[in-house]
């Protein structure tokens, strides 16, 4: 059974000029112990989607299931029962740590609040967690500003693990870090997943990272899920015109195989009170009148879903 499942999930925000359709009818499943990558450009709703699943935002419509149980609407007390299991790692390790708390204080607070240990056990558990995420013990009393970005992100990960989570939303956890540090943290996340059987939702705009770390990938555009498929399949057969353009835009380090690049015209349109129908139509080279109708997610290959009414014509499948 899938650990996390969302059905037709919608998260809308009221703003002065109307309603932002940040997440607009997203459906997918994440199997236990697997990683779901969510990619898309800024403003596509990927972060809101992650935050909605772990109840940092309130969903407007649709359903969220955890381990088969509907957790869409929870009372405060019920929510507390799920808080431990559903955790998040934020993007910016510079702002996600309290500048006035030492490494030890930060991790210990989470351990204490998780209520899994006696007071006397806390110090020892902090040591264990620090070793697990690879922070040297001599940094125990350091403040965040004394640490570099990679180490801070390790502290954040340790704080998250202190809650003994099952499912972690990783919201661009490495995009603020340097390349070599980025790789160190990615390796750590993969090791932890293996060791602890964690399930990840990995949100990023970096497509090479998402391919590396994910088992399945969701591609989002302006709040809508345009394509979802196993990771390798998606990179081999990007069916949706947006996915195709997105993948072709990644600067590649392969200098001998120049790929044909699909340059999109125009900019991302506004997610405020959008028209029904495919949001990508305005930039899509294949758009027709039919694209103005609401689109349905269709399984074109096993486990490979695409939301495009012209997919069969375009790809000949």
């Amino acid at each position: 059974m899938a650990l996390i499942e969302v059905k037709e999930l919608k998260t809308y925000f009221k703003v002065a000029r109307g309603t932002v359709h940040a997440v607009d009818g997203v459906t997918f499943k994440i199997e236990e112990g697997k990683t779901m990558g969510v990619v898309g450009e800024s403003g596509c709703g990927k972060t809101t989607l992650g935050r909605t699943i772990i109840h940092l935002e309130e969903s407007t419509d649709g359903q969220i299931f955890y381990d088969g149980k509907d957790i869409t609407r929870l009372r405060r007390k019920e929510l507390n029962d799920y808080r431990d299991k559903l955790q998040i790692i934020f993007q910016d390790p510079y702002s996600s740590l309290n500048p006035r708390k030492t490494v030890e204080d930060t991790i210990q607070e989470a351990l204490y609040l998780s209520k899994r240990f006696d007071k006397s056990q806390l110090a020892g558990e902090v040591t264990k967690l620090m070793n697990m995420v690879g922070i040297d013990q001599r940094l125990r009393l350091s403040y965040p500003h004394e640490l570099d970005g990679g180490r801070r992100q390790r502290v954040v990960i340790a704080r998250t693990l202190a809650m003994h989570p099952k499912f972690i939303v990783c919201d661009e956890p490495v995009s603020a870090l340097d390349v070599s540090i980025q790789a160190q943290v990615l390796n750590l996340l993969q090791d932890l997943q293996e060791e602890l059987g964690l399930t990840y939702m990995f949100i990023t705009h970096d497509l090479s990272v998402v391919r590396h770390i994910s088992d399945d990938i969701c591609v989002m555009y302006l709040g809508q899920l345009v394509e979802t498929s196993p990771s390798k399949e998606l990179f081999k057969h990007p069916y949706h015109p947006y996915t195709e353009a997105l993948l072709s835009s990644i600067p590649s380090t392969d200098i001998h195989h120049k790929r044909e690049r699909i340059l999109l015209k125009g900019e991302i349109t506004s997610p405020i009170d959008p028209e029904p129908g495919c949001r990508f139509a305005a930039r899509c080279p294949y758009a027709t009148e039919a694209c103005k109708q609401p689109q349905k997610l269709e399984e074109v290959e096993p486990n490979h879903f695409v939301s495009c009414c012209r997919i069969h014509e375009i790809r000949g499948i």
């Binding site: 340097d178 980025q182 990615l186 835009s249 990644i250 590649s252 380090t253 392969d254 340059l263 999109l264």
Partner: protein, 330 residues
């Protein structure tokens, strides 16, 4: 002359603050031909931006010192020039695109005016001519000329960055420095902007210095690549030399850090450890504390750039043993 359009020789730059000295650039040398692109790749604190600012001569007046070296453009030593003479060169001959389009534009001035300002500063055009030229710059970067009188906040991030590029290119500079100029943009927009820069470079034979941490962008844009570490170039060569035969252990680690789009690796193989503290750089080879091949000699002796064939330079004392060492480990 052609070969040495831009020549940086043995540049040293330091910052001082509160008694400690940051050794930002420690002996960088590189030259660039006209119409070619140099990719400068490295991580935060490697000295990439300081190099760019030194060439533009826009290092902060207080606290930054060029300790030594020469930067010459067409044989003219830029570091010897008076500020008034440098003003004429900036924008006209050398231009720079900054990292953050949100802060590079003046929010209270229309975008057209901001482009026109640069043109006015370097030319003696009439008002109409200036406007016409500024409008044509806007169109060149793919923004309709009708938007001349709009303010920066009316544009999206990608368009703002294109306006910044239009300003940088307004006087047909001969050398363009792009410092992480697409880092803040989304991939599809980044692709548009890179495509545009490439087109303009080929059209005007502009020399380009592309500063980024993204090996993919370097691969798509550059003719030559310089890998930077702790204020030094540690490997330099043509694009093919660096990407087909990365040699320096740091360069190899950098390539090992990025997941590939078409290859499957279960684990990444990055360089362990952290960038050294620029106020307290290690003795000997600056990379030695993170290098798995470091020996006693590496901790004592400062390595020089060694030509390992056809202009492919590498700053490593054990460069000729590296292959053996690697085989030994694997």
């Amino acid at each position: 002359m052609e070969k040495d359009f831009l020549k940086v020789e043995d540049l040293f730059v330091e910052y001082t603050s509160e008694g400690s000295t940051v050794h930002a650039v420690n002996g960088m040398s590189v030259s660039l031909e006209k119409g070619k692109t140099l990719g400068v790749v490295g991580e935060t604190g490697a000295g990439k931006t300081t190099l760019a600012k030194s060439i533009m001569r826009i290092l902060p007046d207080v606290g930054a010192f060029i300790r030594g070296g020469k930067i010459s453009l067409e044989g003219q030593d830029l570091l010897e020039l008076k500020e008034e003479e440098m003003i004429k060169i900036r924008g006209r001959k050398i231009s720079m695109i900054f990292q953050d389009p949100m802060t590079a534009l003046n929010p209270t001035m229309t975008v057209g005016k901001q482009i026109a300002e640069v043109i006015e500063a370097h030319n003696n055009f009439s008002k109409e001519e200036t406007r016409k030229r500024a409008e044509s710059m806007l169109e060149m970067v793919g923004i309709p000329a009708e938007r001349y009188d709009e303010y920066p906040h009316q544009f999206s991030g990608g368009m703002k960055q294109r306006i910044v590029i239009a300003i940088a290119l307004a006087c047909d500079p001969e050398l363009l420095i792009a410092d992480e100029s697409t880092t803040a943009l989304d991939v599809t927009i980044q692709a548009q902007v890179l495509d545009m820069i490439r087109g303009l470079r080929d059209q005007f034979q502009t020399s380009l210095i592309m500063i980024t941490h993204d090996l993919g962008i370097i691969a798509e844009m550059s003719d030559y690549v310089a890998v930077t570490y702790a204020g030094q170039f540690i490997e330099y060569g043509s694009l093919e030399q660096i990407y087909d035969h990365p040699t320096h252990p740091y360069t190899v680690g950098l390539f090992g850090s990025i997941p590939h789009l078409h290859e499957d690796v279960r684990r990444l193989t990055p360089v362990e450890g952290l960038m050294p503290d620029p106020t307290n750089l290690p003795q000997g080879c600056k990379f030695n504390p993170r290098c798995k091949f470091a020996c006693e000699r590496c901790r004592q002796e400062k390595p020089q750039m060694v030509d390992i064939g056809g202009g492919h330079l590498c700053r490593c004392l054990r460069v000729h043993e590296l292959e053996e060492l690697r085989n030994g480990i694997d």
